[in-house]
Structure formats: C-alpha cells, structure tokens
C-alpha cells in the first residue's frame, strides 16, 4: 500500500525528469542565451513551452523577449511567470524594469504592503505548493490522531489530540488555498497590449467613438467578449472595447 502511494505521488510530481530531450533543449537554450543569441534561445524555450510550463521557463522566455527589445511580450511572459509564482523576486525586478519602457502611465493604486505579503504567502513557490502542503498536513493529522488513540500517557494523548486538530485545520485551509490558486491561474482575466498602439472604442464596432489610445505593454482587466471584440478595464477604472488581436491574455 505504501509503495503504491509513493509511486502515485512520484508519477504526479515528476512528470518529465525522464524527458532527456527537453532537458537538452533547455541546456542548449541556456548556452545560446549566454552567448547572446537570444533569438535561438527564445525559439528553444518556446519549443519546450509548447508542452510544459513553469515560472522559471516563462521568466526565461520573458528575458529573451526583453533582450530582443520586444517590450510587450517580455511583460506578458513576466506577468505569466508571476501568476504561477506570485512574489518571485527576480521576475518582479525584471518586470519593473520593462514597465519603465511602457508609454502609457496609468494611475495604479499603490500595492498594499500587507496585501502583497499575503499574495506572496498564498502564492507559494509554484501552483502546487499549497496542494503539497495540504497533503503533508493531512498525513500529519492522521498520524497525530492515530498516535493519540494508541498513546498511554494522558498528557501525550492530549497534546497529540491538539496537534491532530491543528493539522486538520491546516489541511482544510491549504486545500482551500490550493483550489484558489488553481482557479487563479486558470482564470485568465488580464491581458497585455501587444499592438504598438490601439484605440479603445466605446462600442464593439469599428467606427464607434474613440475613447482613448493605449500603447504596447499596458496591462488590462478583461471583462466581456463579443465576437472579435473584448471589453477591457484599465487600472484607472476606464472601460472600453478593443479588438482581440491587439492584446494577449496573461
């Protein structure tokens, strides 16, 4: 039974250590990037990205775009990396640097310190971290409860009971966070403007009132979709419609 469980966990967690081909692609990409051939590095990372993803991979792709001078795509991939691993320090640093090259200055609310701390805590190192934590907490809960059942001394029994209860709470909380993280990653409710400049219109129709002009690299919230049009909201709160082709969903 234990053996079976170990097998199950292994197969779920390490899906590609066996993929020697992917590994060699990554090594080649690293070498190309190191030599300054960012175009080749990007192509190699992209080919890995067709099937796999991770915050590190997205970060590296963002770096390639940044070195090639493609600001909007660099921002897009940094944002995607942050989505998988919120609060990743080097991703945030590079994103901040790229954002200085964005033309539009949108008045953004300053990040709430506690909020960003919470974000970092709930984000974890990767999407699966809370799921792994919930598994651990669940195992600890079962062990503590079982120990309490069999323990002789009254004090030991009581402390094991308390531990089991705490582990149960932790299990439920981390499972909830894991569910939230997956939903968050899958939500795709934000986008980056890819076109050099795009007019935001009042209605999802060519020729309707032009509300404002946005430039590449600006981040938007996505609202409704209608055909080839997407309703967006700026950080400042302004809402309008723009063609789907002008943006890339984070």
């Amino acid at each position: 039974m234990k053996h079976f469980l170990a097998m199950l966990l292994l197969s779920a967690n390490l899906p590609l250590s066996a993929h020697a081909g992917t590994d060699s692609l990554l090594r080649q990409a690293e070498a190309a990037y190191g030599n300054g051939d960012h175009k080749l590095a990007l192509a190699l990372y992209d080919s890995v990205h067709t099937h796999y993803t991770s915050a590190g991979l997205l970060f590296n792709i963002g770096n390639c775009y940044s070195k090639l001078g493609d600001v909007p795509h660099a921002i897009l991939f940094y944002e995607r990396a942050l989505r998988l691993s919120p609060g990743a320090e080097d991703v945030q640093a590079n994103l901040d640097l790229e954002r200085t090259k964005v033309v539009d200055r949108v008045n953004q609310l300053p990040a709430f310190t506690l909020g960003s701390m919470w974000e970092r805590v709930q984000g974890g190192r990767d999407v699966d971290q809370w799921a792994r934590r919930s598994l651990w907490a669940c195992a600890i809960m079962a062990l503590a409860a079982g120990g309490a059942l069999l323990a002789g001394g009254a004090t030991l029994k009581r402390s094991l009971h308390v531990l089991a209860l705490a582990a149960l709470v932790a299990t439920l909380a981390s499972a909830a966070l894991a569910a939230y993280r997956v939903a968050d990653v899958e939500r795709h409710s934000e986008a980056i403007i890819i076109s050099p400049s795009v007019e935001v219109l009042g209605e999802p129709r060519t020729g309707s009132t032009r509300l404002f002009i946005l430039h590449q690299g600006t981040k938007l919230d996505l609202l409704e979709q209608q055909g080839e049009w997407r309703e967006v909201r700026l950080a400042s709160g302004a809402v309008g419609w723009l063609p789907l082709a002008a943006i890339a969903v984070i």
């Binding site: 199950l8 590095a41 796999y52 669940c138 809960m141």
Partner: protein, 583 residues
C-alpha cells in the same frame, strides 16, 4: 609670369637702307605656352622699325582655334633721339583637345628680303582645376565681363565632416580698382576656418577666361566643414568697388555679386562604430604614457594624439573607460593645426592626467577610435598598444589614513534585467495541477482512511476486552440476584422478618458456596481470613456487619435503615466479591 620666347631672325643688313642704324626685328610670342582645354593664350607677332607692317602673313595655328583676333596695333616712340616704330598683330587662341600644338612661322617681306618667325610649341593640358573655366565663372563673366567674382568649392559632393576648400576669387580688367566694402556670405551649416593667405594680393600672372585676360586676386580662402547632410549652399558674396578712379574722378561705383556655391553633403554611411570620434579624413593615432609604474595617488600622464589631414578641430576629447579607481580630469588639448589651401592638417593632442587611488595592476586594453575615411568611403579604426598600469601602494595614503582605504560608494554603472534561471526549471505539463489530480485525491483520502482502519481495529480490541469484564460482572450480578431472590420477594411483600431472615441466609450461603465451606463454618474469623485481601479489609468488615445486622433485625426491627438500602448494599458487596480476581 610671362614666358617670352624670343627668336629673332637677323638678316644681313642692307647698308644702304640702314639710314638710322635701327634694328629691324620680327618675332612671335605667346603669353604662355602651357594652357588647359578651354583656356586661351595670346599670340603676338611684332615687327619693329619697319615703316609698314601690312605684309605680315597669318601663321598656321597648328590646330588651335582662334577665339578672337587678329587685333592690330602700332606704336611709335621717340626716345633720346631714337625713333622706335612697331606694328603688332595678336590673336587669342584656344584648344578643344589636350595635346601639343605647333604654331607655324609668320612671314613678312621687308625690302627685298623675307623675315620669318620661329615656330612656337604649345602644350594643352586636360580641363583645368580651379575656377578658371567652370560654369559659374562663365555665368559671372557674362554678367559683367570687366569685373566679377566667383566662389568655388574644391568638391561638389562631400561627406558630413569632410573638408572643403572655398576660394573667393576676383577677376577684373580695370586698371584702377578701389575696394569700397564687401559683404561676405554667411555660412549656414558649415564650420569655417580661414586660410592665411599672407600678403598675397594680385596674382602676378594674368589669367585668361574665355579668351579675355584678367587680373586675378584670391580674396579669401576658407576650409569649410559641412556639419549636416543635404544640399548646403554658400550664399553669394557682394562686393562694392570704385572703378576708373583717377585724379579727375572719384570713380564709378560698381556692385558685383558672386555666384552661390552648392555642395551636396552626404550622411556618413550606416554602421557607425561605437568608438567613432567624429573625425573625417586621414588620421594616425599615437598613444603615449611615459610612466606606467607609479604609486597610488601619483599622477600618470596619458597622451592621445591624432595626427593627419582631417577636421582635427572637431575632434572631441575621447571618453576613457577607466576603472573607477582612477581619478581623471578634463584633458588638456594641444593643437598643432595648420590651415592652408589644402585643408586642415596637423595634430590634436589630448593630455590626460590620471590619478590611481588604489594599488593594483590595471589592464586598460588597447584604446580604439574610429574615424571616417572619405577617400575609401568607409570607417577605419585606430588601435593603440594595450595599456597596463602597475600601481604600487602609495605612501601618502598610508600616512594620512593609517592604511585604511577610504570608503567609496558602490557606483551603479547601468541597469539590466536579471539573468535567466538555469538548472531545474521544475517544468510541468501545461494545464495540469497537483490539486484535483488523481494522485492528490488519493493522497488526501489515504491518511483518513488509514486512520479509520486504525480506529475500527482499536474499537474491536476494546470491545473484546470489555466483554470479559462485563461477563464476569453480569454473572456476579446473576449470582447475587439468585441468592437474594427470596429476600427480594420478602421485600416486595414488606415482610420485615422474612426479608432479614432470607438476607442473612443468603449472605452466609453465598460465602460458604464461594469459598467451598460448610454453612456452619461461616464466622467472623473465616470472613476476615478470606476477604481481608480485598480492599484492605473493608469488604470483610462490611460483609460481617451486614450478616450481623440481618441476624439482629430478625428480632428487633431496624427503624433507621430502609430495607431497600440494605438489599442494595448486599447486592453490591456480592457483586464486588464476584468481580474480584485475586492477584
């Protein structure tokens, strides 16, 4: 300078005719015998001391074209009693093709003889450089053939930064010419540098333009360096002169305007090197550092010298990429630049003073500078010898600071994105998460399931243990109930005597049965012997008390203790004894 080729043909004198012993000469001359295509030379044939020169024959021009002429003139002078008479005939000749031309002899009959001039050889070179015969000059000449000025540029196509020579030339046929004022053109888009012409004023030699001879003066010469690309124009120059001034008149004012000179300035080609220093021309580099081994805080002299023919004055001090341990000051600029008719040449030297603040060995590598070479139309790189400075620990710093280096703020030289992540990127298949996967559900379900199994197992074991005890308790209860059945019946009938009688008998009977004794063997000592092990003798005492109480109550009913309580006590004590298992 006029080259006069004098050939004289002297004939035997006719003594009879030599009344005045005057020499007869007949000669041909040209004002110069080297011209360029388009220029003109003047051929003069002069006969002296012959009364009538009408018989001069026109020489064979040998391919040269007569631009003007013949022009005849004669003069007569009387000096110191000697009379000189001369007749001359002149032509302006030009050539359309370069080559060597020979002007044939001219003949004249004097008396009975014939005089003949020597042939003259003229060399015609290819199209002339300079402002002699270009379109601008032609145009200016047409405007006023007697007085005009031109601006000519050495090139009509140049790169930004390339040197051009602008020549401002005055042509005149007036003898008396007084400059009044002039208005030099404003230069827009050029860096100009005057060429020192010295005291030179009128060119000693006349210049012929389209067959007309002019006195020529170069008013001004400038080295022009275009600063931007496109069509740049040197605006026309305006001059005011008084001509034909004499003691009788102050002269006629004449205002002349030159042509505007145009140059097509090309942008430097693409692919500018990073170390471009803005020089255009032909350069050499000389980097010298006389002292390369110094102590900290000692000055190092570094001299960077650009030499050659280029726009030297436009070279800015190069920025040296020195380690921050070096303190540098703005370099001193030493110019040895001459500006002459060929342009700007010489050298510009930048003298740097470097002061290393910390000891160490500093490899500065080779200094490289690029410039543009318009002759080849490409960028060229100058490269110095690699520079290495060895700096030994300084005395001064140790003395003042006690050997502790002064702290320096970390300099931020630039910003760049952070490097990619290498090593394990912890890749996962796209769109798959641990949460919600089969493994996760199994992992979450397994520990509680195992716990449940454990709990069930524990329960069953507990219940098995509980059964043995319960059975014993149940059988003890059963025994007690059986024994006390008669007493219970009497209790139900409220028959006090019967109750106590039955109770006493039951207690004695139970004890006897329990310990395999006869009923008569039951006494206080035996009860003590058998039950003292239990409960430190309390059970034994309680049992004795109960029996005695029952015997006494048979005769004297107990008022203070209800029968039910006594019955319960008896039940309890029998149960206790039944349950007791000797250790």
């Amino acid at each position: 300078m006029t080259y006069r080729t004098l050939t004289s043909a002297l004939l035997a004198c006719f003594a009879s005719m030599a009344l005045h012993a005057q020499e007869i000469t007949f000669q041909a001359s040209v004002d110069r015998n080297e011209i360029a295509v388009g220029e003109a030379l003047k051929l003069t044939i002069e006969l002296t001391n012959v009364a009538s020169g009408g018989g001069m024959s026109t020489p064979d021009m040998g391919g040269l074209v007569v631009a003007q002429g013949p022009m005849e003139s004669s003069s007569f002078s009387f000096v110191n009693g000697r009379t000189t008479r001369s007749t001359s005939r002149s032509w302006y000749l030009t050539a359309t093709q370069p080559g060597t031309y020979t002007i044939g002899p001219s003949k004249v009959s004097v008396g009975k003889g014939t005089l003949e001039t020597d042939p003259i050889t003229v060399r015609v070179a290819k199209g002339a450089a300079g402002g002699g015969t270009n379109a601008a000059t032609d145009q200016a000449q047409r405007r006023d053939p007697n007085l005009f000025c031109t601006i000519s540029l050495s090139k009509n196509k140049a790169y930004v930064g390339e040197q051009l020579i602008a020549t401002y030339t005055l042509f005149t046929r007036y003898r008396a010419l007084q400059p009044k004022d002039y208005d030099l053109p404003k230069l827009n888009g050029f860096w100009a540098e005057e060429v020192d012409l010295g005291n030179e004023s009128w060119e000693p030699q006349l210049r012929t333009v389209n067959g007309m001879q002019y006195r020529v003066a170069v008013l001004k010469k400038q080295v022009l360096i275009p600063l931007r690309s496109g069509k740049l124009t040197v605006a026309p120059m305006t001059l005011n002169y008084l001509v034909n001034a004499s003691i009788f008149s102050s002269g006629t004012p004449v205002r002349i305007q030159s042509n505007a000179a145009e140059v097509n300035v090309l942008e430097l080609p693409a692919g500018k090197p990073a170390d471009l220093i803005g020089a255009v021309g032909d350069l050499r580099l000389e980097v010298t550092a006389p002292k390369t081994q110094v102590k900290a805080n000692e000055a190092i002299d570094l001299s960077i010298r650009f030499q050659g023919r280029a726009n030297l004055k436009l070279i800015d001090a190069p920025q040296l990429a020195l380690p921050s341990e070096f303190e540098t000051y703005d370099p001193k600029v030493n110019d040895q630049i001459t500006v002459n008719g060929a342009g700007m040449s010489g050298s510009r030297e930048f003298q740097y003073l470097l002061i290393p603040r910390h000891e160490g060995k500093y490899e500065l590598g080779a200094l490289t500078f690029s410039y543009f070479d318009p002759a080849s139309g490409s960028y060229k790189q100058l490269r110095s010898q690699p520079l290495t400075f060895e700096v030994a620990p300084g005395d001064a710093a140790a003395a003042t600071n006690g050997g502790v280096p002064s702290k320096v703020d970390v300099q931020r030289l630039g910003s760049d994105i952070r490097f990619i992540r290498t090593g394990d990127l912890q890749l996962r298949p796209k769109g798959k998460f641990l949460f919600g996967s089969g493994a996760y559900i199994a992992g979450m379900a397994l520990p509680p399931a195992l716990l449940l199994v454990l709990v069930l197992w524990y329960r069953r074991r507990q219940s098995r243990l509980g059964d043995q005890q319960g059975q014993r308790r149940r059988s003890a209860d059963h025994v007690a109930k059986q024994r006390l059945a008669l007493a219970a019946a009497a209790l139900g009938k409220h028959d006090d005597g019967a109750f106590h009688d039955a109770l006493g008998k039951a207690l004695e009977g139970y004890f006897a049965d329990k310990f395999n004794l006869g009923v008569n063997e039951v006494n206080t000592a035996m009860i003590h012997a058998k039950l003292d092990a239990m409960d430190q003798g309390r059970t034994a005492q309680a049992y004795i008390d109960l029996i005695e109480q029952a015997q006494m109550a048979r005769f004297a009913p107990l008022v203070d203790k209800p029968q039910r309580q006594i019955y319960d006590q008896a039940m309890a004590i029998i149960g206790r004894i039944e349950n007791h298992r000797p250790a």
